[in-house]
């Protein structure tokens, strides 16, 4: 579902180049030239992680280095191959995920490892996994060069950065659907990975930096132990719940720091449960199992999105879970080799790839967290009730509130500004329509939100007629206007509710029809009064 939608969001290589140029205001190119001129000597063995469209690859190859360039995207690599072929130098291109770079190349096989504007594309643990793998790959005297965007230090610089960056990010995304994420605490990441780092140069007010790092002999800093999570209600959780009740579709999503957590008092035999890092997801999972099960909780970076949407949109992937597992040191933690994944991330997490990359068994757990204790007690066996999605009244009411929060704002704000006299009628109609739909949805005929919109609209129009006849008689032109409004609102809330549960195809499937019906209604609203001479 969302997988197909997200394809639209994928960046094409040409757009990517333009987008990055715009985002860095043209300052990345000089930085790459500087890397090639000052740090590359002939015959040097260089590993470029995340070569993208190969701009730096070509520059380094032209200086006579033996470059190995890796990238996860076949489209980017194809472009990079073209670019390098034009310069005629030999480059080894490898299509692979950066988190497995440590397994792919023998130790000590490079004199220089370079990554430009790459780390920010990874989740936090993935960044750590990649950097951890770098030190052993370097030959004695080898170095690591990282050029990336960072949030500048200093209040004034940070403020200026925020003011300039946000419009720029928005503009770039609209034009090219490219974006980048600035790194936080790059020096900390490097030192935890066993590097001593120093900043070589900075551009764009300290927001684009080049770091040079060499491995140290000091033992890496010990990673913190798993924090214990408990079900608890605090002012913070209440505020987040209140916000999430209406606006959970809107970013920034409340997040939990990815990593390993403990629920209860887990030991070496306890199960390992995997989930995403949306705050609500983690808290609800903990609430469901705390006190019943002792388990390790591996929270992977899903960009703060729930597991179903994150997996469908490409944010929760096998790679992200591999990275989380490696960063947590799972192998040494428990005696078994079984991961339990939420069933609802199977639309995007490739179970086979996860198995192959970790050597762990992958088990698809139940849909609902509340079934986890029973599932584990039965020896990881699911009943059909555990594997099939239900959409009970309680969930429907919750989801309709979320829809109202976001789409209600989108519809009602313009009405408040431009048609003030319609604000209260529209608000009362939208709210009562939405909740009525939530209650009667299972009994309405039709297999999806579009089909169900027909009976729903008929019910709403009947309600309007009764209201008009009994309480508020109105002349025909005014009744026509009311009917059009009610039809539009009920069509909208039935069609949009569809995406709120994995029970029906995502609401994206309706967009085309929503546009057509919307246009037809606008036309009717304009033409009928003209034809009947009401205006």
């Amino acid at each position: 579902m969302a997988t197909v939608f997200m394809r639209w969001l994928e960046t094409r290589p040409g757009d990517y180049d333009r987008g990055i140029r715009l985002l860095t205001l043209g300052r990345l190119r000089p930085l790459k030239e500087r890397i090639a001129q000052q740090h590359i000597r002939e015959g040097m063995r260089v590993l470029e992680i995340g070569c993208g469209t190969g701009a730096l690859t070509a520059l380094m190859a032209a200086r006579g280095a033996a470059v190995t360039a890796i990238d996860a995207s076949p489209a980017m690599l194809a472009k990079a191959r073209q670019k390098v072929a034009a310069s005629g130098s030999p480059v080894t291109f490898v299509q692979m995920d950066a988190t497995s770079v440590g397994d792919r190349f023998p130790a000590g096989s490079f004199d220089l490892i370079v990554a430009t504007l790459f780390l920010g594309e990874l989740g936090l643990e993935a960044q750590q996994v990649v950097l951890d793998a770098c030190a052993p790959l370097l030959a004695p005297g080898g170095r690591l060069l990282i050029a990336d965007e960072v949030v500048p230090s200093g209040t004034a610089a940070r403020l200026l950065y925020t003011l300039v960056r946000w419009p720029l990010v928005l503009l770039t995304w609209l034009l090219t659907r490219t974006t980048s994420a600035p790194l936080r605490d790059l020096e900390g990441l490097l030192s935890r990975a066993g590097f001593k780092a120093s900043q070589v140069c900075a551009a764009l007010g300290g927001s684009l930096v080049l770091y040079q790092a060499s491995p140290t002999d000091e033992a890496t800093v010990a990673r913190p132990r798993a924090v214990r999570l408990r079900h608890q209600v605090t002012l913070r959780t209440l505020l987040i719940d209140l916000w999430a009740a209406f606006f959970r579709i809107l970013p920034p999503y409340p997040k939990v720091k990815p990593g390993l957590y403990a629920v209860g008092r887990p030991g070496p035999d306890s199960p390992v449960l995997v989930t995403g890092n949306f705050d609500l997801t983690v808290r609800r999972l903990v609430r469901a199992i705390d006190g019943q099960v002792d388990a390790w909780l591996l929270v992977a970076d899903s960009a703060g999105i729930n597991v179903w949407c994150a997996a469908g949109g490409g944010y929760l992937t096998a790679e992200r879970i591999v990275a989380a597992a490696k960063a947590a040191g799972l192998d040494g933690l428990v005696s078994h080799r079984a991961l339990v994944l939420p069933q609802l991330c199977a639309n995007g997490v490739d179970g086979r790839r996860l198995r192959e990359a970790t050597g762990w068994q992958v088990h698809w757990g139940p849909v609902r967290a509340s079934d986890i204790p029973a599932y584990l007690a039965a020896g990881r066996r699911k009943t059909d009730a555990m594997r099939w999605v239900r959409f009970p009244l309680r969930d429907r009411l919750e989801m309709v509130t979320v829809t109202l929060g976001f789409y209600g704002l989108l519809i009602l704000l313009p009405i408040l500004v431009f048609w003030r006299h319609l604000f209260w009628p529209a608000t009362i109609s939208l709210v009562s329509l939405s909740y009525s739909y939530a209650v009667v949805e299972p009994w309405l005929p039709g297999r999806d939100g579009l089909a169900k919109s027909v009976p729903m609209t008929l019910i709403a129009l009947t309600g309007l007629l009764v209201y008009t006849a009994v309480w508020d008689p109105a002349p025909v032109p005014q009744l026509f206007g009311r009917a059009m409004g009610i039809t539009a609102l009920s069509f909208f809330c039935t069609a949009e509710m569809q995406g709120m549960s994995p029970l029906m195809r995502g609401e994206q499937a309706n967009w085309g029809w929503e546009a057509v019906v919307g246009a037809a209604m606008a036309l009717t609203y304009w033409l009928v009064p003209l034809a009947l001479g009401w205006r």
């Binding site: 997988t3 197909v4 639209w8 199977a346 699911k382 594997r387 999605v389 994995p502 309706n510 029809w513």
Partner: protein, 80 residues
């Protein structure tokens, strides 16, 4: 702005595709691992223990999430 219009066209295409996607199952490739049954959230699949094959018993429930397609080790399932 060609990007803008091509995005709209692509959007339309995706909306249309999503509505019409349906499962195509090739039982001859199925080896009875039942990952499809394990991951389908709407109950399209049932295991046939006797023949050790999956059965597409409720194709009409499919929401085109792609989970069975992704998890099938034998590429026996496609969405088209």
């Amino acid at each position: 702005m060609p990007t803008f219009w091509s995005s709209i066209a692509e959007h339309w295409h995706i909306a249309r595709t999503l509505r019409h996607l349906a499962i195509r199952f090739r039982p001859e490739l199925c080896a009875g691992d039942h990952f499809c049954y394990e991951v389908c959230p709407v109950g399209c699949w049932m295991p046939d223990e006797a023949k050790n094959k999956a059965v597409l018993s409720h194709a009409e429930r499919c929401i085109a999430c792609g989970a069975c397609v992704l998890q099938c080790p034998h590429n026996a399932i496609e969405l088209e």
